[in-house]
Each structure stands twice: as C-alpha cells, then as structure tokens.
Amino acid sequence: MQIYLPIAEVSVNLFLLLGLGGLVGFLSGMFGVGGGFLITPLLMFIGVPPGVAVATGANQVVASSISGVLAQLRRKGVDFVMGTVLLIGGLTGSFIGVQIFAYMTALGQVDVFVQLSYVFFLGFIGATMFWESARAIWRNQRQGAQQIRRTQGHSWMHSLPFKVKFRKSGLFISILPPLALGAAVGILSAIMGVGGGFILVPAMIYLLGMPTKVVVGTSLFQIIFVTGFTTIMHAVNSQTVDMMLAFVLIVGGVIGAQIGSRMSTRLKPEQLRILLALLVLAVSIKIALDLLLMPTELYSVTRLVLP
C-alpha cells in the first residue's frame, strides 16, 4: 500500500515506513539513543530528499524519546537535575552548531563535513565502547561476579567549582563538565542532524561516571528538547518537516520504543553496550566506505526549492 508524502513529494510504501519507524523506536527504547543517526540515512535511501529526511527524522525522534522517557520514568531512571544541566549546555551548543553548519554550506562542503563527522565520531565512540564492554564481559565470565567498574570522574573534575548534588545519579560534582558535555553534543547534533544520544550515553557513563540505570532516561529527556528545537528551526527556516511522514514513522516508532525499553531490562548493561557499539560501528563503516570507494555515479543533482 503506497502513501503520498506531501512535503517530500514522493510516494512510499506505508508498511516499509511503519517498519523503519518501529526499528528506530526499538533501538531508541533499548539504548537511549534517539535514532537520528539511523533514520536520516534510511529515509534518504528510500528516496526522501535529504532536507526532509533530516527535519522529519528529528520530529520522529521527539515522539520516540517521549515514549521512552515515560517508560524510564516509571522505573525512576531519569535524573532531571542532570538532564536540565545537559539541556542548557545542549541548546547553547546547538545554536553554535547551526552557525558552523551555515558556514560550511557557504563553502559548499557541508556533505563531506557531515559524513566525516559521522565516520569520526561514530567510529571513535563505537570502537571505545566495544573495547570496554568486551573487556567487561570477559572479566565477568572469568570471575563470575557482575561488577561494573565506573570511573568516578577524574580527579581534576572534583576540584572544579559550582558543585551540585545529583541525587539520582549518586554524584556530587561540578556542573561545568555536564554543561560542556551538553554543549559539545549540541554542536554535533546541529551539524549531524541527530539528537546526539549515541555520544551522550557513553560520555555520561565513562566521563561523568553516571550509573547505567539512569543514563538512558536522562539522555532521552535531553534529546526530546534538543530535537524539538531542531524540528521548529527546520519548519520555520526551510519548511522541510513532513507531518504525514512523521506521523507514520511515529506510529511505528512509539510501539517500537515501548518494546525496546522492555527488552533493555532483560539484558545486562555490558551486553546492551556491546550491541549499541556494534550498531554504531556498522553505520560508521558504511559511511566510511561511501567516502573511500569510487561511487558508481560521480554526479549528483540537487533540486533547489523555488521560494
């Protein structure tokens, strides 16, 4: 059954869209990532114009993140204080990121810039997470004891001013590292058109030393607002949010998110992390190959929308 998308101006199979939304929602609920780094390339692959894919992807991520946060909330897995601090940094960073994006667009190299960002950040984070979780699993199997080693922040982090008690995370640290982290993720999310969960989740675990239990919910909480902001920006600036496409993706996504967050309670944290690491690595390798291998079609046609 085909459905015509009014803003994208393409006709797509309804069940294919539902499936895509469901898949991304499932990952969102399971790992606490928004799924923007998956939905955007997937939409482009099925023929949705890139601008519409980025903007509508952001809108879909809002819905699956809300659904995921509500599920985590009932498990008391959201640290609102930490989420708000990250968010303040995130919105500032996203504002800076939009300026960088506009500058690269003016230079005419925004595509390569975005692709290289994907390869570099996804590759680095995927590899680090994979290595760490593989070691954790190996250690657990040898000792038979389930013990998660987390770095309680570096010593210099404890000497920074403006210390705040993050009760849910069991941390008493300066607000400066989370603010900086939020800002860095905000910059990246504006440039890469993603919520930034795949960077936020490992950074919260390894840099801030937050327990895995609250990481997913807190990350989703921050993602709701960053992607919400992105959606409005795109709707106003370029009119590229396709509500029909978003609706179908959301219906699939919210169901997927619920199933995903159920599943996440059944898996051990390090198993969860190794799966996310593999997924992130796979996407980064795919994009790296696109850059390295000679494309079958060297030319590309970009249609400019008439004002």
């Binding site: 059954m1 005419g108 009119q239 249609r303």
Partner: protein, 252 residues
C-alpha cells in the same frame, strides 16, 4: 529585404495551412491524494487537411509532456586525499522535474536538428538552452549527467515508437505519470512532422494539484511555518504519551 520576407511568407504560408493537428487529452487535471500512485494520460488527435494527404515524405508525430521546472545544482565528485568529495559544480537555471517524449519513429530520423533547435523538442535540446553558471569548462558532461540521473530515476522517459499512427490521420500516445510528481502545470506539446520538418504545433496543459489533506498540510507548512512546527511537535508528544499509556494499560 521586403521582397525576401514576402517570398518567405508566400512559400511557407500555404504549407502550414494545408495540414494541422486537432488534439485532445484523456484528462486535463491530476489530483494528488494520499493514496496517489501515479496516473495514466492518453494524448490523442487527428490531422485535419484541406486536400488529400501527400504521399511523401511520410507523416510523423512527436508528443512531449513536461513538468514544472526549477533551478538545480549538478555536482561532480573527485578523489582528494583518498576520499570522494564534491569538487566542481554547475548551476542550471531551469530543469524540468519531469520530461517524457513519445514519437512515431526514431527521433534522429524523423526530426531535423534545425527544427529541434527551433522548437526545443528533445530533452537534450531543451536542457542546452537553460542558463548555465559553471566554473568548469566541460559543462556538457554535467548536462549529460542531469539527463542520465533523471532517466535512472524514471523522471525522464523516452518512448521511440510510443506514438501510434492510424490511417495516416489518427494518432495516440500513452504516458504513465510516476507517483513522485512535483505539482504544477504540466505542458503537453504535439508536433506534426513531414520529412524532418515541423508542420504544425499544438500545446495543452494538465493541472497537477495536491488535494485534501495533502493540500492542507502543504499550505500550512508554507503559510504558517511556526504553527506547523509546533503542531508537528504536539503530534509527536501526544503519540509518544499515548503509546506509553496504551502499553501500561495493556500490561495490567
């Protein structure tokens, strides 16, 4: 000069009046609804004559169907430091979003280059007159790439022998419009030819428009973008919350 003009008018004039096209379309509007999957268009017509049809040269008909145009940027990738990145770019001022051409024979045999130039019948000719802003000298490669990519996507269609002639008088051409249409006026041009020369031209338009919810969403996205953005977020919030509630009830 005046004598030359008069001679031209006298020599061309009667030939134009001798044979002309009478044409029709199976439909003059296409409505894009939510379940739109494409549309079939039949272009038909007949040749009206004052005198019996000449025996030679043989009669031919070409029909073109062209969608709304817009500016495009064509980029070419080159390998730099081991990675393939966009290097040179060419801007084309107006490139049709859709172009189909059907003819009663092979195009290069029934249409002379002079008349193609004059009427801009073929897509290659049509694209060659667009305003080009290039920093590269080999823009002809970019024009060819535009045509190739359009053909691969099914937006540029060529049907040699797609026009059926009957009794040297009637003709018909069938077009299947794809689902990924850009809305706007689609122009249909019909050419009557003999010996490679165009004898008569007729043009009609097909109005391709979104209707219903498709129309409303498009209008709102462009006229009230902020409200549209907020509504999109509300939709996301309600759906996200709704699914969460439904699952909670279902679990009990």
């Amino acid at each position: 000069m005046k004598a030359l003009l008069l001679a031209l008018v006298l020599s061309v004039g009667p030939a134009v009046a001798e044979e002309s096209l009478v044409t029709g379309l199976s439909r003059d509007d296409v409505q894009i609804t939510a379940d739109f999957t494409g549309s079939d268009i039949l272009v038909y017509g007949a040749v009206r004559r004052n005198s019996p049809a000449p025996q030679s040269p043989p009669m031919d008909v070409i029909v073109t169907l062209e969608g709304p145009s817009s500016p495009v940027t064509v980029r070419r990738k080159e390998r730099i430091f081991g990675i393939w990145i966009n290097r040179s770019a060419v801007d084309l001022a107006d490139v049709p979003s859709y172009f189909a051409i059907a003819s009663s024979g092979a195009l290069d045999q029934i249409l002379s280059p002079e008349d193609d130039l004059k009427h801009q019948i073929s897509l290659a000719r049509r694209l060659s007159v667009t305003k080009i802003t290039a920093n590269s000298m080999d823009f002809s490669n970019f024009l060819r790439a535009t045509q190739r990519i359009g053909s691969d996507k099914g937006n540029y269609v060529s049907q040699q022998n797609g026009v059926k002639l009957a009794e040297d008088t009637l003709f018909r051409a069938d077009f299947a419009l794809p689902a990924n249409l850009t809305e706007g006026d689609f122009s249909v041009r019909m050419f009557l030819l003999r010996g490679g020369r165009v004898i008569d031209v007729k043009a009609q338009t097909i109005d391709v428009r979104k209707t219903g919810i498709e129309r409303q969403l498009t209008n709102m996205a462009h006229r009230q973008p902020l409200l549209y953005g907020i509504l999109s977020l509300l939709l996301a919030a309600v759906a996200g919350w709704g699914a969460s509630e439904i699952f909670r009830i279902w679990r009990r």
